[in-house]
């Protein structure tokens, strides 16, 4: 599995497309709790973690439960860790849960890349 993180709008998906030869049909873009792990690439994991916060679900437990399904996936998540502590409890929890999930995934990843302006910094 490969984990790609980075700030919003940094060209993470484009970089993944080029590096791993992904077609549009390979990419699942999260917008809620459901993840289609049959796609090679799962994008916008931060939308999944926000949905988890709203549903009082545990994103790490969810990934643990499907571990064999994403073992060869390209996973992409916005880094939301660098701003001021959010005023809203929902967004504070979102920030925590996104960080917790990224740490869990990075620990299990073969490669962790951070994308900055379309360029890779390899973290693992």
């Amino acid at each position: 599995m490969v984990l790609i993180i980075g700030g919003a709008f940094q060209g993470k998906l484009n970089w993944a497309r080029e590096t791993y030869a992904l077609a549009d049909s390979d990419v699942f873009s999260c917008s809620g709790l459901e993840i289609d792990f049959s796609r090679r690439c799962v994008y916008h994991l931060e939308e999944f973690t926000l949905a988890c916060v709203d549903a009082d679900a545990d994103p790490v437990a969810c990934f643990e439960a499907h571990a064999e399904q994403w073992a060869d996936s390209v996973l992409i998540c916005d880094d939301v860790s660098c701003g001021v502590v959010p005023m809203s409890a929902r967004l504070r929890l979102w920030r925590n849960e996104t960080g917790r999930l990224c740490q869990y995934l990075a620990a299990h990843a073969d490669r962790v890349s951070r994308i900055f302006c379309g360029l890779e910094q390899r973290l693992k």
Binding site: G6, G7, A8, F9, Q10, G11, D78, D79, V80, S81, C82, G83, V84, P86, L91, R92, W94, R95, T98, F116, C117, G118, L119, E120, Q121
Partner: protein, 178 residues
């Protein structure tokens, strides 16, 4: 050599950018392209601080809040240009008129790419504002996507791309000048 330099606030971007520009210029012309149009005392104070910081370094200041290519009307293209910052330039381009200009990001991206291609040496400074846990309103989000578009265009065009973290340069592409 052309260099794109970004990162979070107060990580040493301006100071490294000045050093790099001085090194690139050698004995040639050295320009500071000031993009901020001050609107209040805080802005004016910030400008005075930056002017004092670069005093004696040999910069000729060119004030240009919009239409960045106009800088080249009066300057020597073989010189070295320090442009600080893409952030302020886009702010001016996007919010200067009576309505918000949604094309400002694309225009800044192509203007800056053309500018970088047209000059011998440049150091372009921007701000990384993409990693906070916030759901922004439509206008702020438009500004963020537009700045990212301009940043990526600069990064693609420049020889060297640097992210500054706590005064330490992380080099994503190319290298530093001798």
């Amino acid at each position: 050599m052309t260099i794109f330099l970004s990162g979070g606030a107060k990580n040493g971007k301006s100071s490294l950018a000045q050093d790099l520009a001085v090194r690139l210029a050698g004995d040639g012309a050295l320009y500071y392209v000031a993009t901020m149009i001050p609107v209040d005392e805080e802005d004016r104070q910030r400008i005075r601080r930056h002017v004092a910081d670069r005093a004696g370094m040999g910069f000729e200041t060119i004030e240009c809040g919009r239409h960045i290519f106009d800088v080249l009307d009066s300057a020597d293209r073989n010189g070295t240009f320090l442009l600080d910052s893409v952030t302020a330039l886009l702010m001016n381009e996007m919010f200067a008129g009576s309505h918000i200009d949604k094309q400002a990001g694309e225009r800044c991206a192509s203007d800056l790419a053309a500018f970088i291609r047209s000059v011998n040496n440049a150091v372009i400074v921007s701000d990384a504002i993409y990693s906070d846990a916030e759901r922004y309103d439509e206008i702020t989000e438009l500004y963020r996507t537009s700045l990212a578009m301009a940043d990526r265009a600069c990064a693609a065009e420049c020889d060297t791309v640097i992210e500054m973290v706590a005064g330490q340069p992380i080099i994503y592409k190319g290298g530093l000048p001798e």
